[in-house]
Symmetry: C2
Subunit: 311 residues, 2 copies
Amino acid sequence: MSNHIAVDVGGTQMRAACYPSDSPTPIKIDRISTQVPYATPLERLVKLIKAVTPDGGDVAAIAVAVPGPTNPYKGIIYTAPNIPGWQNLAIGPILEEKFGIPVRLGNDANLAALGEWQFGAGKGHHHLIYMTVSTGIGTGILVDDRLLLGVDGLAAELGHVTVLPDGPMCGCGKRGHLEAVASGTAIAHWVEEQIAAGKPSSLPSKQTFTARDVGMAAAQGDPLSVEALARAGAFLGQALAGFIHTFNPSIIIIGGGVSLSGDFLMKPIQDCLKEMVISPQYLEGFVLGTSALADEAGLLGALALARSISE
Amino acid sequence: MSNHIAVDVGGTQMRAACYPSDSPTPIKIDRISTQVPYATPLERLVKLIKAVTPDGGDVAAIAVAVPGPTNPYKGIIYTAPNIPGWQNLAIGPILEEKFGIPVRLGNDANLAALGEWQFGAGKGHHHLIYMTVSTGIGTGILVDDRLLLGVDGLAAELGHVTVLPDGPMCGCGKRGHLEAVASGTAIAHWVEEQIAAGKPSSLPSKQTFTARDVGMAAAQGDPLSVEALARAGAFLGQALAGFIHTFNPSIIIIGGGVSLSGDFLMKPIQDCLKEMVISPQYLEGFVLGTSALADEAGLLGALALARSISE
């Protein structure tokens, strides 16, 4: 009965926890800043893993959720936009050498999907799509109880599907992607543009704000903010209808900060699905849900991955 | 060493073949019309299976490719637009009762994908998308060597993904789907519209024609026909870029009559992929190919399915 270590690495901080084999409650948990002077993010990661390693060192495997495209077969992170130096870095093999136990790497959105599937809103579902709507849009997909990874682990980038040809520029440099019209960044930017064009709003003009501000303004009755969330919801609904035809899932789970806007976002998605899905059979027994694990999804997904190694 | 029977049912005719366990060359093959007076399509199917059953009756399993959404777990065809009476019909269980051996049903595009994967252009690939561009657009997807089916077998309907919001009406009754702008029907219809609006073409005005006519006119240098295929190719490329981000496949195989237009269609797709895919990693080692099995794909996919039952 060995322990497993799960790590969730973000651009700002990294968190790790050590779990016994029979519970999702950690026996040790810690968090540290990712980027500090005089230490690389990789050195910080090693330090953090050591900090949560139990006395006696009884650990069967380690899994790490990382914020960027990853080759999970090789344990390589291709690129992490928010972590300098993490380019084609073989984190998995490096940590295996260091700790002498199996180490697996996973993209954070993929592992959040795995977390929701094993411990959260997706329990009991075999065909699941998880989408976090936050600064960007990240997704993870389970097909027949298995993560959809593709030939090099680059699958499930549903934020980079075109929903509006010639639409706004996406963070990736291409136009009209779902992320470019429905992410938190896109929602806030659209509201800023509308205010600049003279539309009335309770939000201040000539200021930048976040999707969280938009969500709060919507809750207080600001029509422009309500419209912004409905617009994003309609784009999400259009894209999700396509993903329903593609995957025929029994559940789609929406997570991330923007999902906290609740019905202002979820109702337009739901309406759009009803209107756009080609046969009611796709929606029989189908669940459109929100994340149960919130910020814990990545860490618990890493736990699920670590446990799957030594099964 | 038992034989397997594969059947490919279309609206006009149904074909069946009996294969030995070690070869894709049939020992018996036959075809009959699907719809005749005084016999139901199901009775025709039973008759055809009997016709290819070898003397001695040594058959391990039967698989049937059917033209419509199907629940492969239950052996039910939900609907077959071109076959009257095939609505929620439990063909699998009915045939199992009749013949006393395992029978599996599969959607024809799914089984064509399986055929290309096992015997055709997709041999050796583990992550594959097959798309037939014909009257409509049908698709089948293999993820990790397994058909993507979804919770009720309704997955892989990539023709019904929105590529042009508020675009032309699709056969399914929704707007702007890939099938509505890039199928053979859509290509021919667009050319007809352009001619009606006064655009010059070597194709006749005030007549209906097919995508095959458009392909032949393009080969003879008709600029409008070349433009029509390039336009369809651009929509296909946009959609396929999204599917590449979704599935990270190592191959996409284009089949169906429209793919016979060759570079008039394939070159615009290829160009569009290069422009729209978010990272060159997705295209490293990636193959955009055409069908190797053509009209045999469905039948050979049914063979692959039948053999997988008794493995």
